[in-house]
Structure formats: C-alpha cells, structure tokens
C-alpha cells in the first residue's frame, strides 16, 4: 500500500490540502448563529452548505454541527473571538486538527471518480459548488465539500487516507474509459 497521498492522472489530481486547524463545533441552532457572528462570517450557512470569511470556513454538516477549518495564521484570533462569543452558552468545541487529513481533488474526471466511491449524486445540479456533506466513500466515512466546478475537498480520518487515495487512484484510472 502506498503512503503517498498524491495522485496525478489524466483528468484527475489528488494532493494534500493546505494545513488547517480543525474544530467540531456543536450547539443548538441559535448558538451556532452566535458563533457565526463571533467568527465574523456573513451569515449562518444553510444545511450542507459552507460559509467562508477571513481565516474561517464553516461547513454545516448537521442541524447542530459545524466543521470549522481555520487558517493556522489567523486561527488563534478567531478562536478567542469564538470562545468569547460563546462564553456561558451551552456548546461543544473539540479540536480535531490531527484526527483527519484534507485532500484536494480536481480535474475534469473528478465527478465520475467520486461517483465510483459514493452513492450520493455528485453531479453539478445535485451537488453545487459550496455544498458539503458527510458521506460514505467505499468503506470509509468522509466529508465532501465542493470547492469549484471541478474541485472537491475531501476530509477523512487520518488512517483512512491510504485506502481513500488508493481507491480514488483506481477510480480515476477507470473514469477515462
């Protein structure tokens, strides 16, 4: 099994994503609105949507759940603001920076390659840019976030990375035909 998280094929590229600090923020919907304000985001992302502002991206994975991806450069400021904004309000903020790895997938064949792994409809109309969801890819959990017409970010737990990149490598090879 290859440990290189890198796939470069005709119409499909997989590279490790830029380093991010990651947090799972869970709270009642009203509290999530407060968190959005504290983080300086324009508005609370709808279910399965993403919101980005400054150093912060929030993926709305559930009614009570954000996955926060923070640029390490501005992370501490955002976190301080968040903690201050949620002071005394029930919530759960857990760091998962090391739990998972991010993979950037891109290319003209990114849709069919992903369609080999997940039963979710990843075609443009059903999975527009900015959509994010937790799903099953092959036999592993992952979070899929569409970052562009031919671009997805895949967030998966660390130990599943070789399996996932191996599967995507084969799926991309097959997607050519």
């Amino acid at each position: 099994m290859s440990d290189t998280m890198q796939v470069s094929r005709n119409g499909f590229t997989l590279v490790p994503a830029a380093d991010r600090r990651r947090f799972v923020l869970q709270a009642r919907p009203g509290t999530l609105d407060a968190a959005v304000r504290a983080l300086g985001l324009a508005e609370t992302p709808a279910m399965l949507a993403a919101a980005t502002g400054g150093a912060v991206t929030a993926l709305r994975l559930g009614p009570q759940e954000f996955l926060l991806l923070l640029d390490p450069a501005g992370a501490e400021d955002s976190l301080s603001a968040l903690r201050a904004g949620l002071e005394g309000v029930a919530h759960s903020l857990v760091e998962v920076s090391d739990r998972q790895v991010g993979l950037d997938l891109s290319g003209a064949l990114v849709e069919p390659a992903l369609a080999s792994l997940t039963s979710i409809d990843v075609a443009g109309p059903a999975f527009p840019v900015g959509m994010a969801t937790r799903t099953l890819l092959g036999k592993a959990d992952g979070v899929l976030w569409r970052t562009g017409p031919d671009r997805f970010r895949l967030e998966i737990w660390r130990s599943f990375a070789p399996y996932m990149s191996g599967l995507l490598n084969e799926a991309a090879r097959d997607a050519v035909f």
Partner: protein, 1001 residues
C-alpha cells in the same frame, strides 16, 4: 471451408474486414461485427455444445442472451478463460480463442452421450430418488461423481488479472432495452431535457429493427431510422447511451444494476481499460423495454443442431448475413414465421414447407408466402426431427379434428425453424416486485400493477406490431419524463408495414402420435428437462409450479425461464387439468444474465478490500521487526521478536521487562469520544452503569456500558477533563458502535440534553508507558509537570506538555504496574514515542505488543470485552458488579439487570483456573465439567475464556466463565480433551498482586 453460408450483400457485418479465430482449436474466419455464433454458422458449423445431463449434441437455438445451448469458454490460460459465455453474445475479433464446454473427449464424439441411452433411468428428481442409500456412499462415491459429471464450464484457476470499474449514476429516466420501444422512449424523454440513460445488452442499439428488412418508418428502412434516432440521441448532452450493457437487477427504490462489458469484444484493449463496469443507477423513473423472446416448440428431437428459433434465423440472415442452412422446414403457430420464410426465400434458401399448427391460418403474410410459391401446410405438426450432430430430416403430420395426430410424412431439411409465438420478457418487471397479469388473448403473462416507479413499453408488455410499439415507447418516455418533472411531447412516426406478429402461439408440448416413451422433447435445453419430466413431476404429486421447477430443475440457473417458462407452465397446466393462469408462474431471480464475480468485487480486492488502518507509530514498529495482528480494521503490533525468538519467547521476555522495569506500548487504536456540554455528567450517568456525578475534574474511572438487555457492551477508562467535558475511551473494535449507540440515545431518547459527542480516536496518539521505572523515564520529559504519586495518583489525569507538545496524561494501568498513558496529537505521536524511547534506554525500555498486554492483564484478572464476555454476560457475571451504581435512578440496561434470571446464582461467573501441571496451558474455548467420567453428553459448567503461560508466575493461568463460579473457588473441575481430561482448580480471577500494591506507588 470459408464462410460458405455467408450471404453477400446481407447483414451489418463488415465484409471488408475478415477476422480469424479458433473454436476448439480449429481456425475459422468471420467478419468484423460477427458474433461467435454467427461466424460459426457462416462456416456451416451448428454444433456448439453438449447438454448438461445427457451430453447431447447441441447447436445454437437463438441469436441473443436467451441462448441455452451454445455456452462457450473464451480466452486462454489459467486466469484468462471465462466460462459460460453465450456464443450469441461473444463478438469475434482477430485472435479470439473459444472452446466448447461439457464434452469429453471432444464435441463431435462425447462419451457422456451414453447418458442418453440411460435416459429412462434419469427421470425428474433423479438425484433425490437414487442417491439415498447407503449413507456412506454419499461422501465418497455419489457426490464426487455427480460433481464431476455436472456443472457448467470450468472456473479459472489463477487470480483474475483484469480490473473492473464501478460507478453510481443518477438519472431522471432509465430506459432498459434499446429496441424500437426503448429508442422511442429515450428520444421522447431526452427531448424534454430529462437526464436519460439508455442501456442495451447488445453491441448495437436497434433490437429487432436490425433484423427487419421489410418495415419502413417515415419511409426510411428500419436500420436507417435507428441510425437517425441514435444520431439525435448522441447529440443530446442529457442522454447517455450504453451498449453491451445489461440491466441485470432491479432493486428497491429504482436502484437498477447494469453491467457494461468494455473490453471483451476488443482484440487489443488499452492496457488500463477495465474489463467491465458495474453501474448502480438510481433512476427517478424507469422504462422497461426488454422486448419479447420467441418460444421454441416442444417435440421429439427439438434439440438437434440445426433446429432453432425462426426469429434467430432471421437475425442471422438480416443482421449478420448468414444463412443457417440450405433447406428449411418451418413449424409455426404465429404469423411472424412467414416473414422469416419470405426473407430466407429471397436470400436463396429453399423453404421446403411451412407447417402451421393452426387449422386455418389466414393473413396477408401467409398469402404472400403462398404467392411466393412456398408450401404452406395448415393444421400440421412436427412429430420428430431426425439427426444427431445435425438435423437431416423431419416428420410432419396432420393434426386431426379429434385432436390426434395423423400419419407422418418425411421431409428433408438441414434447418428446422420453430415459432411458438412470443413470451414478453418480464424478468426485470418481476424483479421489481411488480404483479404479473395473465393475458387471455395472448396466452402469456404481462406486467400488471407496478411496485416501483416504472412502466413497461412495447413487446415486453405484449405490444408487437411495430407502429404500436413505437407509439407505446414514445408514450412511456413522455410519461416517465413527466413523472420526473419534465414536460415532453410524444414523437410520432408513420410505419409502413403490414406484418402483425404475436397473435398466435403455442404453450406446452406439441401433440404427437403414439406414446413416445423414449421420445425426448425438451422444454428446458440448458437443464435438459423434457416434457416427460414435467408430467412425471405432476404424477408424483407436485402441484405448485415452484415445486415442479425445483424437482425438474426447469427454468433454473442462467436460463431463469427465458426459453422454458411458458412451455413448462403449459405442460404442467395440462397435466394438472387446470388453466395456465391458475398454475402461476415461478419467480424470476436476478441476475438477468450471469455477471462476473470481478464486476461485483470491482475495486474491493487486495489492499483495497478493506481500509488498512495504521497508527502513527506503525512505521516505527515495522522498523523494529514487529509482528502484526488485525484488530478490527487496525493493524496492531502483536510482539517484537528479537533474533530468532518465537512468539512465546518474545512474550515472556516482554512480560518480565514490564514487570521488572518499563515497557512501551502503542495504544493509539483505543476508541476515544469527547463528551462535552453542561449535561455531560447526566448523559454519562445514563449511558454507563457507573456513577459519574461525583467524579472530580482530573480524575479517571473505569467505565462499563451495557446494552438495553443488561449485557456488557463495552468498557474503557473515562477521564473528567472539566466539569462539562469527559474524555471517554472505548475498546479498539467497539469504538464505532459505542459512538453510534450514544448518538442514537442522544438524538432519539434525550434530545433535551445539552451535550454533544465528537470522535477523537484519531486525534490522539496514545503511548502507554508501564512498569516500576515508568515514572523515572517520563518525569524528565514532561516540561516540569509534577507526576509524583502525590500529585498524580493512580486513576487521575493532568494536561500539560511533553517536549512542548500538548498532552493529556492519564495515570492508568492495564498491566497492574505503575503506568501512564500519554495522549498527544497524532502528528506528534511518532516524535514523542521516539523521545520516550531514547529517554528509556538506560532503564532498558522494552516495546511490547498486544499479546504481552493480554497476558499482563490476565495476570491481574482484568477482562477483555468480547473475550471474557460474549454478549450474554452481565457486569456481575464478569466480576464487575462493583462498578454498577446502586443509587442511580436509571441507566441503559438497569431495567434488565433487576430481572430475577439476571441474578440467578448459577449464572456463569468469571473465575480463575490453575492446572495441576504448571506448564500445562489450557486451550481457550475448552469446556469445563464436574466429573471426568461423566457419560456423554456431559453437563457443561462453563468454558475457558483466556489462557496463557505467565512468565512472571512461572506457570500457566486461565480465566473462565463457570456456572456459579464464585461459589466454587477451591473446587476441582475437569477439561475434557481429545483422549484425556485435565483437572483444574477454581481460583479467584486475580493471580498477581491481589492487593494492588504495585499500582499505588
């Protein structure tokens, strides 16, 4: 011989491109575009297989996927040969290698054919009746002989070198079948803008239109109309046309599986090309346009090579440019055969006679045949076909008004065509659990009430005339697109054709003259089932068509009733004296045609079969030569052998090193869940049997979790990080299940609680440092943190840093020694591990694996959930009754634990066992009984759950679950083994440091 039966100017094959292939080692030539069957027929070669049971010579019967006889193996070499392919679907290419199956020593002369002589001894239910006695013959004689004689084809012996693709797809409208109805439906839906997938199992779209030289659609020849439609579909970006792609399974919620063959027809596929692609299509709406299959007629010798379906001969002639013989006799119950006769006649084939089973057939087509000078014999049946490896003549006889059969007349023929009418192909509809309805007028089953969002169109629902089929397909396409939310207009076409096929037909065995006790008239060619077999089954008392199917094997295996169903039904109904619709129909099982195992496996093979999860410390352990074991999806270091050590020696050394100094262990795979929120303690109180309210911040507790039924589900140490934050650990294998169960309760039972769960299993690398020297090794590394016994006693935790890396440090032990579990972010795990490793060199630090961990914990009597417990042990059974809170109002499992049966004194309880001989290590799983001389079956009191040699104690130890075990301490029990019995003494389950002095240092 070079394609003597090729008809110049006919067919869609490329007459300019000749390809050479071999069949049974003999070289043949065909044209590009041929199937193996059409190419062999072009060379006058009908004999393509031997039958399953009687090894009778068999030729090709059909021209499609319903072919029961011409099953061949394609490819060469131990890995590349694919058995059981239908010659009618194998496309020839330069260098193709194919062999026939089920023959010995060769196709022309098969020794197995003596089975035909023994046919009276091989009746229906033969296996059930014959191989019953003596019992001892089964394993040594009957089964090996049957297995050698039976079975179709030979499986490859080497691993499959090909790879297989897999793809999910979503669409608005899926159209299965690209004949006239399917094309019309796809076009109607495609023009509306709906996402459409059109799949057809053959190499070219068009279906029956590719064999039709007569019909004109909007004035265009049928094949040219197909090309027009295909061009329009290809230009629509929302339509995907898949050929060589079989819809083989109709699952619930319109999930339809397609298997697309990508390389099988290519002489030289691109090296990276997958051989097949399995599609799982989720369609909003489905149009089934599967067409209809012509029925064979059931008469003596109907399986002789050269006897085939009329429609097949038409396809070979018009689509492949092959005449299947020189002199044909046609037997029919339907008008469509007259068109075949006219086509053959026009191509120069002599049509000696057309025997029509109907007393007074009359149609424009029949008159056209008569007008062309062909002999039509109304009210005439076929008594018998003669020949062995090829038919040479037939006996035709008048059907007399009283129902009997008159004197026969001999007709020479090298081609006998049967047309018993059409059977709508309702396989996919039936798989979708739709209800079939019997159509009195047509005498066949057609789709009735739908169970899914689908509709059938064209011949698969009994609509046969081309104009009607096109209109039906277009309407189905409009309906499907409309139901998916797209407004569509039905295209319409003018059809100029007078043919009206499908109004006649025959079901059952043809009437014959005489009893024909030795006559073999086949109903199911593939399974060698004759009309007599079906009648016999009825005589022997079988009433249900499902039982008759199993008893006779008709319609089983890959055939799935494509050819045989309606005829078998007709014979059974006749024998039972009940109308066909009262006898019912057997279930059509998926797959529609066989699918390779490789397609099902797709990428899930080799390293990608399952995720291969490894910890951050894994590379270090590999470099040290560790031996690994699988624990759920993880690879864990089992032991670290030095030099030539085996596992036993390594484990003894590792155990002594931990007890005598310090050992280091990778515990990263432990499941971890962060439970956070103001209601965290409340939630923990409800999930675990323990009480958590009073656990102080910075303290740890062993937590035990039951399921609703009161049986132990998981365990692990839980630390309280803050008033509203718990760091929960679970077993390695239990992690996903525990999180799922917690979420389930939280979301469905207690949504009012302000508490949230986050898996942190992979956030933390966990390094266990265990042994009397552990503190001395660790203390200098923890950046000034006080980890003395006073500051950090057993079962407490502290947050700090180790070499600058953030750390949660747990003072816990699963070994019974002074111990720490160092949690650091996963990316830092390896570096911290190596820092501890370096610092521990002076103290003789020793890496140990899971096997040593198991021995050390067993010496202390610590249970492993799933080893001591088996899903039927309560906390008290497992010796953990002390953990169960007596004061909590409720927790998961509490209600069950108070049931009397859960407190019975004879429940199996955790105990220790010591053998008399210290070197004797019991077998895990061995049973325990009270007396060695008990009569068999002995009364089993319990079983051994864990058993090891303890290097520390210099003797073997074991844990066991024993009925009323705690009251038996001091008793002698017995372990019956092969040829001897081992006496054991029951003890308490703690063997080492009973008072725990080594922990609290």
């Amino acid at each position: 011989m070079s394609q003597a039966f090729r008809v110049p100017g006919r067919g869609r094959v490329d007459s300019a491109r000749t390809v050479t292939f071999t069949f049974d080692g003999r070289r043949f030539q065909g044209q590009a575009g041929d199937t193996l069957a059409s190419a062999l027929l072009a060379n006058g070669h009908h004999l393509m297989g031997r039958s399953f049971k009687y090894h009778r010579a068999r030729g090709v019967v059909s021209a499609g996927s319903d072919e029961p006889n011409a099953l061949v193996a394609v490819g060469s070499g131990p890995a590349l040969q694919t058995p059981n392919l239908r010659a009618t679907q194998v496309e020839v290419y330069e260098g193709l290698t194919a062999v026939s199956q089920n023959r010995f020593p060769c196709l022309q002369f098969d020794l197995g054919a003596v089975n035909t002589l023994a046919a009276p001894l091989l009746p229906a239910g033969f296996y059930y009746k014959t191989f019953m006695w003596p019992r001892s013959f089964w394993d040594r004689v009957y089964e090996p002989v049957i297995r050698r004689a039976a079975g179709l084809g030979v499986a490859p012996t080497a691993p499959d070198p090909d790879h297989y693709a897999f793809q999910y797809a979503h669409c608005d409208v899926l159209v299965a079948g690209a004949g006239p109805a399917g094309l019309a439906a796809a076009l109607a839906a495609g023009r509306s803008g709906a996402q459409v997938i059109l799949a057809d199992e053959t190499a070219e779209v068009g279906g029956s239109l590719l064999s039709d030289r007569t019909s004109r659609i909007d004035g265009r020849p049928a094949a040219l109309w197909v090309a027009d439609i295909l061009a329009e579909l290809a230009a629509l970006p929302n339509v995907r046309v898949l050929t060589r792609c079989t819809a083989f399974n109709y699952g619930p919620h319109n999930m339809v599986a397609l298997n697309q063959r990508l390389t099988e027809h290519l002489a030289d596929p691109a090296p990276d090309m997958p051989r097949e692609r399995l599609w799982q299509v989720r369609a909003k709406e489905v149009v089934l346009a599967a067409g209809a299959l012509e029925r064979p007629l059931v008469f003596e010798g109907n399986d002789r090579p050269g006897v085939m379906l009329a429609s097949a001969a038409q396809t070979y002639l018009n689509r492949y440019g092959v005449a299947c013989g020189k002199r044909a006799v046609i037997v029919t119950a339907d008008d469509s055969a007259y068109r075949v006769a006219l086509d053959l006649h026009a191509a120069g084939v002599t049509v000696a006679a057309i025997a029509d089973l109907r007393p007074a057939p009359d149609s424009a087509l029949m008159r056209a045949a008569q007008g062309a000078g062909l002999t039509v014999l109304p009210g005439t049946t076929i008594q018998r076909a003669h020949g062995s490896t090829r038919v040479h003549s037939v006996e035709l006889a008048r059907l007399l008004p009283d129902g009997s059969v008159g004197k026969g007349q001999h007709w020479r023929a090298d081609l006998v065509l049967m047309s018993g009418g059409y059977t709508p192909s309702v396989h996919l509809f039936s798989q979708s659990r739709g209800k079939l309805a019997f159509d009195e007028r047509l005498g066949v089953y057609i789709p009735g009430e739908s169970a899914e969002r689908e509709r059938s169109a064209g011949a698969c629902r009994g609509v046969y005339a081309l104009a009607d089929v096109l209109a039906d397909g277009a309407a189905a396409g409009v309906a499907a697109a409309g139901a998916a939310g797209f407004a569509a207009d039905a295209p319409s076409w003018a059809v100029d054709a007078a043919d009206a096929p499908g109004r006649g037909g025959y079901a059952g065995a043809l009437p014959r003259r005489g009893k024909g006790l030795l006559a073999m008239a086949f109903v199911d060619f593939q399974n060698d089932v004759t009309a007599k077999d079906v009648k016999l089954a009825v005589r022997e008392g079988f009433r249900s068509i499902e039982h008759i199917k199993r008893y006779t094997t008709t319609g089983m295996a890959t055939d799935q009733g494509k050819m045989s169903n309606v005829n078998a039904l007709g014979i059974a109904a006749d024998a039972l004296g009940r109308p066909v619709e009262k006898v019912g129909l057997t279930t059509f099982r998926p797959p529609f045609t066989p699918v390779t195992f490789g397609a099902f496996a797709s990428h899930a093979r080799g390293d990608l079969f399952d995720p291969d999860r490894r910890t951050p410390i894994d590379p270090w352990a590999r470099a040290q030569g560790a031996v690994f074991e699988d624990v759920s999806l993880w690879r864990r270091a089992r032991y670290f052998p030095r030099g030539s050590e085996d596992m036993e020696a390594a484990v003894r050394r590792e155990c002594l090193a931990v007890r005598g100094g310090v050992g280091i262990f990778d515990a990263s795979t432990l499941g971890k869940i962060e439970v956070v929120g103001p209601d965290a303690a409340t939630f923990m109180n409800r999930m675990y049997v323990n009480a958590w309210t009073k656990l102080g911040v910075g303290k740890c507790r062993y937590g035990l979790m039951c399921r609703e039924n009161g049986f132990v589900y998981d365990d692990g140490v839980v630390g309280r990080i803050a008033q509203d934050r718990f760091h929960v650990t679970t077993t390695t294998g239990g992690a996903p299940g525990v999180l799922a169960m917690m979420e389930d309760y939280l979301q469905t039972e207690w949504p009012d609680l302000d508490v949230w769960l986050t898996s942190t299993t992979e956030e933390w690398a966990v390094i266990a440092l265990q042994g009397p020297s552990a503190r001395a090794v660790l203390a200098p590394l923890v950046d000034g943190l006080d980890i003395s016994a006073e500051a950090l006693p057993h079962m407490s935790l502290v947050e700090g840093t180790i070499g600058g890396v953030p750390m949660r440090l747990f003072r816990v032990s699963f070994t019974g020694e002074l111990g720490f579990e160092i949690n650091v972010p996963a990316r830092q795990g390896r570096a911290v591990w190596e820092a501890i490793w370096d610092a521990g060199q002076a103290a003789g630090i020793t890496p140990y694996g899971t096997e040593t961990m198991h021995v050390l914990r067993a010496e202390k009597g610590y249970i492993i959930v799933g080893q001591e417990t088996d899903g039927t042990a309560t906390p008290d059974d497992a010796g953990c009754g002390w953990a169960v809170s007596k004061v909590k109002a409720d927790f998961v499992g509490k209600r069950s634990l108070v049931l009397p049966a859960m407190q019975a004194p004879d429940r199996r309880q955790l105990v220790g066992l010591l053998t008399e001989a210290p070197w004797e290590v019991l077998e895990e799983g061995a049973q325990l009984v009270a007396r060695p001389d008990e009569a068999i079956p002995m009364h089993v009191l319990g079983h051994v759950t864990s058993s090891y040699f303890s290097a520390t104690l210099g003797r073997s130890i074991a844990l066991a679950m024993v009925s009323g075990g705690r009251a038996r301490v001091g008793e002698t029990l017995h372990v019956p083994m092969e040829g001897r019995t081992i006496a054991v003494t029951v003890t308490k389950p703690v063997f080492y440091d009973v008072e725990g002095a080594r922990l609290n240092v």
